[in-house]
């Protein structure tokens, strides 16, 4: 089913490459921030990947609802793919955040609300991978879908609770109430990078989903072959 999307995949890959190139060039030529200096450039990777880590979970939740509702195999493949992609983006977010935090805060890590939430999100992604690999394929689809939905309900509570717990992070720049607080020359590369990362995420999900689909087909074939051998022995 997903193999038919090969054309889309190629085009999406090309667009991603162009956008990423343009975004990186813009980011590297952007002026230094008044307070943060050139370290601000790390945020052109950090912020889009943080958004993608969350967006992947949103997509995963959608796929999981479809899995429970329609029992769709394609939705399950996409869900499995988006778990890996989301995990990758959360690792990038945490790593780039630490690199940015060292010169800005003087420490690699601080237990503030958004960092803690992102770390918990990563653990939930890892848990979902673990759950899928520990269950029989027949049961894995439904169980991981239920788990993903539980996580989707839990994540806002986690975020709310750790925000209550402590906050030290700089306020979000894309806040609805405060208005956009980034100057134009720094904003344009950020927007380009954000669009590039959305394309990148979609491309990664498609490639991963195709790989998962092949993997499952190979497993099914191997199983069929084993059964065939057994029948020959019996006959």
């Amino acid at each position: 089913m997903l193999a038919r999307w090969g054309k889309i995949e190629i085009w999406l890959g090309a667009v991603t490459l162009i956008l990423l190139g343009a975004g990186l060039w813009l980011a590297m030529t952007a002026p230094a921030d008044f307070q943060q200096g050139y370290s601000v450039r790390i945020l052109y990777v950090h912020v889009p990947s943080a958004k993608m880590a969350l967006l992947s979970y949103l997509f995963l939740t959608g796929c999981s609802i479809v899995v429970l509702w329609k029992k769709s195999e394609t939705a399950d493949v996409l869900a499995q793919a988006s778990v890996s992609v989301g995990a990758a983006f959360s690792v990038v977010t945490l790593a780039s955040g630490a690199i940015w935090g060292k010169p800005m805060w003087g420490v690699w890590w601080a237990w503030d609300a958004r960092l803690t939430s992102m770390l918990v999100l990563l653990i939930i992604y890892v848990g979902l991978m673990g759950l899928r690999s520990a269950l029989d394929p027949g049961k894995a689809a439904k169980a991981t879908a239920v788990m993903a939905i539980i996580g989707a309900v839990d994540l806002p509570i986690i975020h709310y609770s750790v925000t209550m717990w402590r906050t030290l992070h700089q306020p979000a720049s894309f806040s609805k109430t405060a208005g956009i607080s980034i100057a134009g020359p720094l904003l344009i590369p950020l927007v380009v990078m954000a669009v590039a990362f959305i394309c990148l995420g979609a491309y990664m999900v498609l490639v991963k989903a195709r790989a998962i689909e092949y993997e499952r087909r190979i497993e099914a074939l191997e199983l069929a072959e084993e059964m065939g051998h057994e029948e020959m022995h019996h006959g």
Partner: protein
């Protein structure tokens, strides 16, 4: 009304079977209690807190111990159902899945509460914390946290029941999800004991939100998990 009573009685029967069976075999409850005690011993050896420090660390230690101890209990929630197709028998009973969940949850809840009943006085004695006058408040906070913890825990136990290395997996899935519970429980207990700032209200509210969410969601999700 009679229908509701029938369901509640069914759930009560399942819980009764689990709790009494466990007490007679002396299986889960005793290992939970002794696990909790060994956590306390290890903690004392690792930190050697003074009385002042003990008061400050007590809420966190209490909740960590409860969390880890509940993992011991949760690993065995569906153990009896694994043998001789007992789960199929349970699923064939003329009860909605939500009622089956309710029964399993009540059983685990009762065992966990019994462990906590032993644990808290023991901690006050072992760490020389004089909070006997506030014991009922600590138990109140613990009860609120345990409702949500066991509801989510029993659900995840059902999810990982057939998984390979399920105990590790259960911990990996449960611990991040109960983060709000841990934060709120520790802060509320600290406020009650007078070591973490004065006001427990926002944290108790957070505990109530968590309980509400999982008491609504868990029976529904359980229905999806055990459906053939």
């Amino acid at each position: 009304m009679t229908e509701l009573m029938r369901y509640l009685r069914g759930a009560y029967r399942i819980a009764w079977k689990d709790v009494v069976g466990d007490l007679r075999r002396r299986a889960t409850l005793s290992s939970m209690i002794f696990f909790a005690v060994s956590v306390l011993v290890v903690f004392q050896m690792a930190f050697e807190p003074t009385r002042q420090e003990a008061l400050r660390l007590l809420p966190g230690l209490l909740w960590i111990t409860v969390l880890f101890t509940s993992l011991v209990g949760l690993g065995r929630v569906f153990q009896a159902e694994e043998e001789d197709g007992a789960l199929e028998g349970l699923l064939l009973s003329p009860m909605p899945r939500g009622v089956l969940f309710l029964g399993k949850w009540w059983g685990n809840l009762l065992l966990t509460l019994l462990v906590e009943l032993c644990l808290v006085p023991l901690m006050l004695v072992l760490f020389n914390v004089d909070a006997w006058m506030r014991l009922h408040l600590v138990f109140g906070v613990l009860l609120l946290g345990t409702l949500g913890l066991t509801a989510l825990g029993v659900l995840l136990a059902a999810m990982t029941q057939t998984a390979r290395s399920r105990e590790t997996l259960l911990a990996l899935l449960l611990l991040p999800l109960v983060a709000p519970l841990l934060v709120a429980g520790v802060q509320a207990t600290g406020a009650v004991l007078g070591s973490h700032g004065p006001d427990a209200t926002p944290w108790v509210r957070l505990l109530l939100v968590f309980d509400g969410v999982y008491l609504v969601m868990a029976p529904w999700a359980f229905g999806w998990l055990v459906e053939e």
